[in-house]
Assembly symmetry: C2
């Protein structure tokens, strides 16, 4: 209760900065344009590139203590005449699955009841999802029971899956073996990433090239009619993920229209208060998710600015400018009159770490969002519209330095317990609240604190690499990148994962690793950084 | 081994009757016409009548020791917002199922995994098919797991089911309830029985009318693109079932073309020896089953003769005459030179009773088939073609009286152990091997023998009624009919069953009653007999 009351008074405090005054006309503009934004998003719905793939063969899965999740591919072959076999398509793909059934020498005198399990990893196809409860829906586990009345024939499963492996279980096999056989399997991979646009990267070594390839595949399989966070789960556009995907996309597939479509979707689906919400769905028709993450909303303007810089599409930036500006009113309402963020009724994400104190990282993100909005205004010749909030930048920097900086230890702390986290240092560095030697110091000092809260997800790892780079520590950034993403590669990743905890192969934010997404766009950092670092400085 | 050798020599013995000589030209005729027969069957593929049905409500199922299979309908209502509910469509139907899903106030943020169980009976929807092993495929149990990615939307399940009840299990319900709701269910009932052709029956009382109605519904739901034995299982055309369906159909829906189509299917799909096999499938394209039941094949000519009599379609009878005649060669090859049947390598069915000795009943069926073929020849002016086999009629009657008639007890016995069964008396009476008082005696005497093998299936029960009637015992026939089929009606049958053992509600030929067919055409006798008995003698 108290929390909400605090939020309300903080909102009023923002009004005291005079921010609302200059934003009045903005709401009218947004409301006028909003229906058009959704139409534009619809007009930008991409045609998907389709590729037909055949399995490279069948694989047996064997236990192996040294391998990822204690499983590895054992014997390989081409035997689809057993009661239980696993097809290997040789690569990760997002798409569809079909197969043909051939009649045997005797007529099939009963329906076939087949079970198919689709897996991005070996564990998913051999594991039992019902063994361990998960906080998420059981239905994210990709398995289907298919009853087939008539053969011969071709069966196309109706849903889209994300997979490399397909396990086929034929419960009636003993009776059925003279009565039918499989006559070919195929997959149709779909993506809105056009490989023709992909520039050849320049890499320092084979390891870097390999990480780039895995990241490209990750990005490709998440690029559908919108940027999805993961094609297995949630298959949703998330603003925080979008920003990282868009940045990687500019360096690789350069599908500017897909970013444009996502910016329009989020703007068109903003809520009744014109808040750009955090997530949305594209099917059966575009609709808003029910999440509102403060630190994601704070990045909308930055994502629009980066789109403008990469594509040169000023018309879109002009069109969406009012809603980018509007987000300041929302994201700054929990900043108090001294320029300090304390708490928000909104979901403060930063990272999947329930013990993380969010104050300092959110202070950094909000400041970063404010500064990027001002940059965007500058680019669009709208500096006048943000004049009222410009003094807030210095105020927030000062508040951060006064309230959150531990001068003795040369690092930022967060919350009443003065928690030390990498998240705090990362976002303070990225926001420019700290620069030069202090920036280097806080990143490196915090990393040495024994109980420092480290980045948990590849999402925050991405900003960790970025912050090191921004602080002038590119060698460390590169080393950290190669170590973390290289850790997934060493474990056999075809695409990069939603979560990776080097010391726990079975880590899952949801209580069951089988429900994890193993192709997750927020993990596509290598192709972004490695290609940028190889390119001449811009 | 010995059995097969015997069969071979029996075949040669038939050659000794000179039967082959007169059939030589027949094989050539059959081979010339066979492709055309399949084309004619295809041209006769019927348009199905379609009716959309809504559920009458939801039902709770409660245990009740007095009810069929110890289950009855308890509370009724209309609540589809629970995690597990049962829809009642109020009648049995063969057809399709669809439903609509409506979005809730919050977006659905995971796929829905729904389970649907279709049941002809209450036991099927509340039972667990995996609890008891069955000799048949688990897939005959009609359940589907359906994963749904997007709502709102309409979902049409792709397969055809036979059901009155549909259970819907919503495993994610607790999380899902604010996120979706069902927005209507419907079924599309399909049949090739046109109710417009149905003449009003005249019945002695309400009980008879009720049995007629249940039988009509049984017949209706088995009339699809061909006469199916059961729309749940096997969904196949079986020659033995066809004959009973055709006879009932002439008294009711009068779809002569459907019988014609089935006669052409069986003829067109006869094997390389021109044997009319026992069963066939219509999808994905017409093909032969792998069963060869001697007593079914022996009834092909009779089925054709009855079609000719009912429809007056002489052209079809002429067209199919060669293959009807040909079956004599096949069915009589296991009759020895004295006119006695002993054993056959073919499947001798007669009834689902593994302890039944088949000698006498098969002797009766084969003799019946022979006589009906001669009748058909007579009708078509082809008596010359059967002249060589006509003496065999008396030979077989004599063999039956000499080897199988127990003059002391006035009944037929069968096999080396001189088994007394109703099946023996039934087929001897129907074949005319015994008439007058002897016919009455054998039927009634056998029924009194303590360990007599009684009819097990409604299929043989049908011939029991027929034999009583033929023997001039119509009152007993009527009483037996009302008692047996009335027993199913009392137990709440919507359609008549594949199997009914009054003292065992859980009887199944397959080890699990959940796999039984509860709408089975060979059980449609009431509408045949009751309507014939009411009509003026023909």
């Amino acid at each position: 209760m108290k929390w909400w009351l605090f939020a309300l008074s903080a909102g009023l405090a923002v009004a005291g900065f005079g921010v609302e005054l200059s934003f009045d006309g903005v709401d009218r503009q947004i409301n006028e344009r909003k229906p058009g934004w959704l139409s534009k998003a619809e007009a930008l719905r991409p045609t998907l590139y389709r590729e037909t793939l055949k399995p490279v063969g069948t694989v047996k899965v064997v236990e192996d203590a040294q391998s990822f999740q204690r499983l590895k591919i054992g014997e390989t072959g081409n035997d689809t005449a057993t009661a239980d076999f696993i097809l290997d398509f040789g690569r990760h793909l997002t798409g569809y699955f079909r197969f043909k059934l051939k009649a045997g020498s005797n007529p099939l005198d009963f329906p076939l009841r087949l079970r198919f399990v689709f897996g991005e990893t070996l564990a998913e196809v051999v594991g039992n999802p019902d063994e361990k409860p998960t906080g998420l829906s059981r239905a994210w586990f990709q398995d289907e029971v298919v009853n087939i009345d008539f053969i011969p024939g071709e069966v196309a499963l109706p849903r889209r899956y994300a997979f490399r492996y397909v396990r086929c279980v034929v419960p009636e096999f003993n009776r059925a073996k003279q009565k039918f056989s499989f006559d070919g399997f195929s997959a149709e991979a779909v993506t809105s990433a056009n490989p023709i646009n992909l520039a050849e990267g320049r890499f320092g070594n084979e390891e870097e090239r390999r990480l780039d390839t895995i990241a490209l595949n990750t990005l490709r399989d998440c690029m559908q009619t919108m940027f999805e966070d993961g094609p297995k789960r949630d298959r949703r556009l998330w603003l925080g993920d979008l920003r990282l995907q868009a940045l990687a996309n500019y360096e690789t597939y350069r599908n500017f229209n897909l970013v444009k479509r996502c910016l329009y979707l989020l703007a068109g689906l903003s809520d009744q208060d014109n808040m750009v919400r955090t997530d949305c769905y594209d099917q059966p028709s575009p609709h808003r998710g029910d999440c509102a993450i403060l630190d994601y909303t704070a990045l909308y303007a930055s994502t629009l600015l980066e789109y403008l810089e990469a594509s040169g599409d000023r018309a879109t930036a002009e069109d969406l400018w009012p809603i980018a500006l509007k987000q300041l009113q929302i994201t700054l309402r929990d900043v108090d009159e001294n320029g300090l963020f304390k708490k928000s009724p909104m979901w403060c994400f930063i990272d999947w770490d329930s013990k993380l104190d969010r104050q300092a990282p959110e202070q950094g993100v909000l400041l970063y969002g404010l500064k990027r909005t001002i940059e965007l205004a500058d680019k669009l010749g709208r500096r006048d519209q943000v004049a009222a909030v410009e003094p807030l930048v210095q105020k927030m920097v000062t508040a951060a330095r006064e309230s959150l900086w531990d001068a003795e230890r040369k690092l930022f702390v967060s919350g009443p317990d003065r928690q030390v986290s990498m998240a705090s240092q990362i976002w303070m560095v990225l926001s420019g609240a700290v620069t030069g030697q202090d920036a280097k110091d806080c990143l490196l000092n915090a990393a040495k604190v024994p109980d420092v809260r480290k980045p948990f997800t590849p999402y925050l790892r991405n900003y960790w690499i970025e912050a090191l780079d921004v602080a002038g520590l590119r060698d460390t950034a590169r080393k950290e990148l190669l170590e973390y993403w290289g850790g997934m590669a060493k474990r056999g990743a075809d695409t990069f994962w939603e979560g990776f905890v080097p010391e726990d192969d079975f880590f899952s934010p949801y209580g069951n690793h089988l429900i994890n997404s193993y192709c997750h766009a927020w993990s596509c950092a290598p192709c972004y950084f490695l290609r940028r670092w190889a390119a001449p400085a811009r």
